[in-house]
Symmetry: C2
Subunit: 311 residues, 2 copies
Amino acid sequence: MSKPLFDRIALIGLGLIGTSIARAARANGVSREIAGTARSQKTRARVRELGIVDDILDTPAQAVKGADLVIVCVPVCASGAIAKEIGPHLDPGAIVTDAGSVKLSVMRDMEPHIPDGCFLVPGHPIAGTEQSGPDAGFAELFVNRWCILTPGAKASPEATAKLTSFWQALGSHVDVMDAEHHDLVLAITSHIPHLIAYNIVGTVADLESDTRSEVIKYSASGFRDFTRIAASDPAMWRDVFLANKDAVLEMLGRFSEDLSGLQRAIRRGDSETLVELFTRTRKIRRNVIEAGQETAEPDFGRMRATPSDQD
Amino acid sequence: MSKPLFDRIALIGLGLIGTSIARAARANGVSREIAGTARSQKTRARVRELGIVDDILDTPAQAVKGADLVIVCVPVCASGAIAKEIGPHLDPGAIVTDAGSVKLSVMRDMEPHIPDGCFLVPGHPIAGTEQSGPDAGFAELFVNRWCILTPGAKASPEATAKLTSFWQALGSHVDVMDAEHHDLVLAITSHIPHLIAYNIVGTVADLESDTRSEVIKYSASGFRDFTRIAASDPAMWRDVFLANKDAVLEMLGRFSEDLSGLQRAIRRGDSETLVELFTRTRKIRRNVIEAGQETAEPDFGRMRATPSDQD
C-alpha cells in the first residue's frame, strides 16, 4: 500500500461537507488519520457515534495539533475567527484550506492569522445537497464535481498541487482561479439561484393559508423544484449573501433587468421574444447535461409516483 | 371484465400529455377504443409506429367522430380554433375537455363552439416533464398527481363526475374549482416558477462565452435545477404567459416586491431578516414532501455521480 497523501487531516466543522470529506478521505485512503471538531457538543457526540473520524477534539486549537492538512468547513463569516484561534497551534508546514462558497472574504479574513511557514489555499468544492448536519454527509458527494482553489499570498505552488491531488483523490475535478473571479461566477451560478428560490418560496409562505395549501398541493407543476434549494442551511446562506454582497447585488441587477424585459414582453403580448428566449434556454439545459453535471433523465429521474397516497 | 368508462376517446394533439393519456387510458382499460390526431404528419407517423392508439386520423374533425370523450392536448392558444373545427362533428352527448395550464382563456375560447347536447369540462392535469413529443410520454405520468377540473356554463354535473372517474382511473386525485381561481393559484405554483427559471437561464445565455462555460461547469451549485423547467416546450409556455397574462403579472409583482426587500436586506447586512426567511422556506419544503408531491431523497435522488468523465 502506498503512503497516504497526508498524515493527519483536521476537520473544523462536521456538517454535511465536513463529514462527507471525512467519509471520502477515509474511503480513498488519503490520510493516515482524521481528526475533527465541531462547535456543538451534540454534533461531536453524533460524529463519535458514527465513527467516521479517528479523533474528536473539543476545540479547533486542539484539533489542528499534528495535522498537515486543516480543512475549515464552517459558514464563511466564521472562518476568520477560526483562523485566529488555530493560527498559533498550527504545525510548521501545515496546509490550511476551507470549503466556503465565497473566496475573497475568506482570504481576507483568514490570511492575517496564518503564520509564516504554513500555507493557506482557500477552496470551494461545488457539491452539496439541501440537507445539513453530520448524518447528511456521504463519501461520494464530490465525485465528478468541480472543486475550485483560489491560492493567494499565503499559498505555495507545492501546497496548491498537493491540495489538488487531495480533491482528485476524492473524485473531483480541480480548477484554480483568482478569488474575485470565483465570487463573480458563483454569484450567478449559485448565489442568485438560491436567492430567487428563497424569494419565491418566501412569497408563497406569505400567502394566506388556503392559497398556500393549494400551492403545496399542486407544486409538481414547477414550484417544488425551487423548494429544494430553498431548504438549504440558513446560517450557511446568510453568510454567503453577506460575504459576497457586491457580486450578488451586481448579478441580481442583471437578473432584475432581464425580468423587467420579460414582464414587458408578456404585457405587450410579444410572442416572438418569448419563443426566442424559451428556445435559447432549452439549449443551455443540453449543455449542462453534456458537461456531465446533470442527469439526462426527465424530471431529474425523480420517482414517477410517490408511494403514499395522501388524498 | 367490466364495461370501460368510455367507448371511444379522441385525443387532439399527441405530444407528451396526449400520448401519456393514451398510454395510461389503455393501461387502465378506461376506453374501448382510442383515436388520435396531431397537426404534424411526422407526429402522426411516429404515434402510428409506437402503436399506442387504435386509430390515427388526419384531422381533428375526423378524429372526434364517434367519440364520447374528446381531450384537446395542444398549446392553450390553439384550443379555440380546435373547438371551432370539431364543434360541428361532435357526437351528441360527447364530453369535451382539455389539458391546458390556463383555464379562463380556454373556457372563453372553446365554449362558443360546443353545440347544445355536448358538454365542456375544461381540465388541467398537474403533471409533466421538461421533455416533449410523443416519445416523452409514459403511462404513469398522472399517478398521485392532481387534476383540476373547472366546469363552466357548458358542463353538467354528470359530465364532471364522469371525467373525475376518468382521471381517477389514471391514478390522479381530482379537484374541482372555478377557472379564475385556478389561473391565480397556478400563476404562483407554476407560471412564475417557469418565468423566473427561463429568466435566469436567459441571463446566463447572455453572458460572454467564457463565463457561460464556467456557469455550466459549476452548475451543480444551484443553477442546474433551473435549467430543467427552462427546458420545457417553448410553444406551450409562450401560450401560457399570453393566455394568463393578468394573473402572471399580478404574481410577478409580488415576487418582484419581495425580491426588492431581500436585496435591501443584503445591502444593509440585515442578517436576522435573511435567517428568518431561510428558516421559513425550509418548512415549506417539508410541507411539499408531506403532501406526497416530492421525494424526500436529498438532491431529488439524482444520481450522486454521473458515469461519464468529461474532464
